[in-house]
Each structure stands twice: as structure tokens, then as C-alpha cells.
Amino acid sequence: MIPEWIPEWLEEKDSYTPPSDGGAFYIRTIKSIGAAMSRLRIQRGHEKKYALPAIVKFILLVCAILLLSINHNGMIMLFFAAILQAYLCTWPAHDIWNILKASGAAGIIAFILFLPAMIILPQNISNNLAVVIKVFLSMEMLSIFNHTTQWNHITGALKKLHIPAIFIFTLDITLKYIVLLGTLIQDLLTSLELRSVGKNNKKYQSIGGVMGVTFIRGAEMSGEMYEAMCCRGFTDDYKE
């Protein structure tokens, strides 16, 4: 039932502006780290129906990166660049964007690292630029491999190369749990942000609480994963 009149205190206008909260910088920092972690998906790509076996691709990738990085010949670099761009330009636009984001970031970081050397010794500039281009091309190859290969096929390929199961296991679980814990931190900080209006004088306590909850959840998750894997009969060994 709706009353016909509204009480007076409801009609009054409130002007409440919460006091601005200065040092929320690290909360935002941690939140952006969490967001970056949760965005790091292991596999968002596609595997074509008639793809090469993952182990062949893996060996080819390692050989190509080695050849590219050891070689001093500009022709090889040009050849790699031509093949990679020609292959990449046949892809759908969104996948190209994902690949170029990763490799472009690596290239820019390499460029920034080499910038002082290029300024101090301008006669070596072509050499330094060659290294930057090599970094970019290697990252491009790696992202293409990652994008076109399913994660479980990669672990299978690693197993076929007789890499000990403990390494594969650590890699596998780490990558999966980085995503999970990143999502968790992000959610916790979002809820903290929603609940704290105005000035929060106990920021360090809240941050400590968030970290503590994340730690406890991590410990719980590891216990749950151990039990789940026991139930499924995991014998510490990966299938080839």
C-alpha cells in the first residue's frame, strides 16, 4: 500500500558531499594489477581443424626464434618479417589486434630500453633497431603460436619433449591460479570501494584485510585443488 503523503523529512534536500579521500593511490594500483592479472587468459585463441601437431609447431617455433636471434644477416630478418606479416594479414581483425598488442608492447619496451644507447652512440643505431625488430618478431611468433594452439596441447607437447612433469604442473597451475587470484583481488577491492564512502582513515587495515583474505582463499584453493585432483586420480604425470 502506497501512502498518499510523503513525510516531510523525505522531501528535504540533503547536500552531502563526502570529504575527498586523498591517498587512494595504492588501492587503485593494486586494483589495476588485479585487473591485469585477471585479464591474462591462458587461451582465448582458436585452433584450426587441420592444424599442425603442437609438438611440430613448438619445435618450429624454438628453431625460428633461435635462428632469428642468433643470425646477424638482415636478409633473414626481412624474410621472417615478410612471412609473419603475410600470414597475419589473412587473419580476422580482432585476432590481429590481440597479437599486435602483445608484440607491440614488447617492442616498445625494448625500444625504450635501447633509447639511451641509441642517443649516446648514434653510430650503432641500426644494430639497436635490429634488436628491437627481432624482439617484436619473436613476440609475434610466440603470440601466434599461443593463439593457434590449445593449452592442453602445449602441455602435451612439453611432455613429449621429456620435460619433467613437475615443471609442466607448476607452469599449468600457476597460469590458472594467477587468473583466479587476480579476479578475487579485483572483486574484493571493488566491494571495499563500494562500501567505503568518503574518507577512510584505516586504509592500511583494509588493505591488510584484502591481502589476508586473498592469502586465506589461496590456501583454501590449494587444499581444494589437492582434494579434487586426488578424487580424479591425478598421478603427478601428464598424458603425452
Binding site: 644477416n73 626481412l78 615478410a82 606479416q85 603475410a86 594479414c89 580482432h94 590481429i96
Partner: protein
């Protein structure tokens, strides 16, 4: 085409490779430009 030779390598080959890279990069750039327009249509 002496401008295309790299460290005394075959310049015809280098010329062709440069052409391939150029065309591919142009295709990639135009595909990337098309992303925002494709989104708007949906």
C-alpha cells in the same frame, strides 16, 4: 635497385620481400581501422 640490397644480398629478393611486407602491413592497418566500425554496426 641498389637501395634494396642488404649487406650485399640479392637485391631482387630483398625488393620482393619489401613489397610483401608493405602490402601485408597495409592490409593489417586497414583491418585494424575497420574494428571500431564493425562494432558500431552490431
Amino acid at each position: 635497385m641498389p637501395d634494396y640490397s642488404l649487406e650485399g644480398m640479392n637485391e631482387v629478393f630483398a625488393y620482393v620481400l619489401s613489397a610483401v611486407i608493405g602490402v601485408a602491413i597495409l592490409v593489417i592497418i586497414f583491418k585494424l581501422i575497420s574494428i571500431p566500425f564493425a562494432k558500431r554496426k552490431r
